[in-house]
Amino acid sequence: MDLAKWVLKFPAALYGVQFLNDIAIHVLKTGPIPNHIAIVMDGNRRYAQSRNIETVKGHTAGFETFLRTAQVCSTLGVKTVTVYAFSIENFNRGQEETDKLFNMVRTSLAEVSDGDDSLAKRLGWKIKILGNRDMIPDDLKKDIEKIERLTAENTGTVINICCPYTSRDDMAQAVRKAAENGQADPEGISESAFKSCLYTADAEPLDILIRTSGTTRLSDFMLWECVDGSQVEFASPMWPEYTVLDLYLVILRWGLKQLSSKDKVGRISLDKLPSPPAAVSVNVTDFKFK
């Protein structure tokens, strides 16, 4: 492992890795590419603990992994990437830690979107913050609104940052909104009307959900979105150790499943089929012998 790191210090080796990565992206692009990937970036603190470094450094390493992953996704043509940055449950960690986390969100957002040379500008990222805005401190809220405004016109990958978010909170606000909007005709509230009230209303259906660090729970993330037709992947590495190769393998496995399920007859609703020819019955009285 150390040897590999040493070899990678040489410019030629770095160039070689870059070259292989480019080829991998070109290859993947000729196949099916998921529209929407959601990630629980879990394990930053455990990563820091296991290496005896400060927690903050673990979070910084996690942020770098996020940038790398998001870049790869947008080069591949993934339309939406949703990440879990801050859970409402995180407020349990106490004032000091939440302030730290919020500060990190603030500086990270600034790093991604400030200036003409920023990633958001270069790759055309449209950044959105999903979650309960009432819980965000006012100054951060202003920053967020500014960044959303700045990137609103971009046409590249949509980066959804969930902060502070839980899926139940999302569903609860959607129930509230849908119940209020639909009170003229409560019976007429449809699933699609409900869906349009969720934070992820504009996003494509979720194709892949990745959770790192070996935990096999959803922890209140994308519950509504992931129960039908999504591939849920529990990966064992801590988030800072999650490599691009891991991501490629997940996308390949998803792609393989798409290919093999293409031939099978899917569950399709009747109104999506073309209409059959007119149905007639032979009226016996009209039938004359000649």
């Binding site: 959607a174 209020e180 019976e187 729970r217 039908d228």
Partner: protein
């Protein structure tokens, strides 16, 4: 795939497409070999497992664990009729087996999710009898393994419990749920609440997370502690989204749809070793 390559109109695109096909082929082979390897090791493991159709052995297996889930959920599939263990009969015997393991392991609630709702469409008495028959194979005739079964419908639940009046609380509660108790239930609850708003019984700001939680729990029960899938990949098949918030999810890549005691025990092991640290 070749289509997209010709669309880009380059020779290199064509070659990249061929590489991808090669990678896919490789991946399919790896997948096949892996599942073959897993399944053969699984068979061997299953052989070393003692015959488990007695409660003592199940209890013996779980006493090694530090904790067991109170509420277990399983996702079951109806297999095709001509396959061994297929059809509705196969499904019913699967439910009975899992119920017996749950009682043996000391869990007090079991939720059975079957997407199409075929179990719920059967007469509840038939389902009850089928499970009772299966439990007799484990616990004998003078059975203390009592249970109560709930057919969960969004607009009212039917239940069936032990017939003897004045008997003690049943050992196991069994919920039967299907796809219609999933996303659709949340929309149904929204309709109910919207109706209440329209009639000024409640105001939108009183529709809190807790109110919704209570409404949903009333209809299909609580969130399970452990969700077991018997497929080789995680496929939630439209499971009620509200109810898998922090549920431990278990799925074994080695299994292929068999409702086996080995998978059940492995899931309990995974649950016992999992750490719970909500938001911390």
């Amino acid at each position: 795939m070749v289509d997209s390559a010709t669309q880009s109109g380059t020779v290199s695109g064509f070659f990249f497409g061929i590489i991808l096909k090669f990678v896919f082929a490789l991946l399919a082979v790896v997948k096949f070999v892996r599942s073959f390897y897993f399944q053969s090791t699984y068979r061997v493991e299953a052989l070393t497992l003692s015959p488990h159709k007695t409660p003592q052995i199940i209890r013996n297996d779980v006493t090694k664990l530090s904790k067991v889930p109170r509420h277990i959920a399983v996702i079951l599939d109806r297999k095709q009729k001509h396959v061994e263990g297929g059809g509705v009969e196969g499904l019913l015997s699967d439910v009975g087996e899992v119920a017996a393991w749950c009682i043996g392991a000391g869990a007090s609630e079991l939720t059975v999710y079957e997407r199409t709702g075929v179990l719920k469409s059967l007469p509840l008495q038939d389902v009850y009898n089928a499970i009772e028959d299966r439990l007799r194979m484990y616990f004998g005739n003078s059975s203390s393994a009592t249970f109560k079964i709930f057919n969960r419908q969004n607009d009212g639940t039917k239940s069936l419990g032990p017939s003897a009046a004045g008997s003690a609380d049943p050992k196991l509660l069994i919920n039967l749920i299907s796809e219609s108790n999933g996303r659709k239930l949340i929309v149904d609850v929204t309709r109910v609440l919207s109706d209440m708003v329209a009639q000024n019984v409640t105001s939108p700001k009183d529709i809190t997370l807790d109110v919704i939680d209570r409404q949903l729990k009333e209809r299909i029960g609580s969130e399970p502690d452990l969700l077991i899938m018997f497929s080789s990949e995680i496929d939630l098949q439209g499971y009620p989204p509200w109810h898998i918030r922090v549920t431990e999810i278990y799925c074994s890549p080695a299994n292929n749809g068999n409702v086996s005691y080995l998978v059940f025990m492995k899931a309990l092991h995974a649950f016992a070793t999992a750490k719970f640290k909500l938001g911390r």
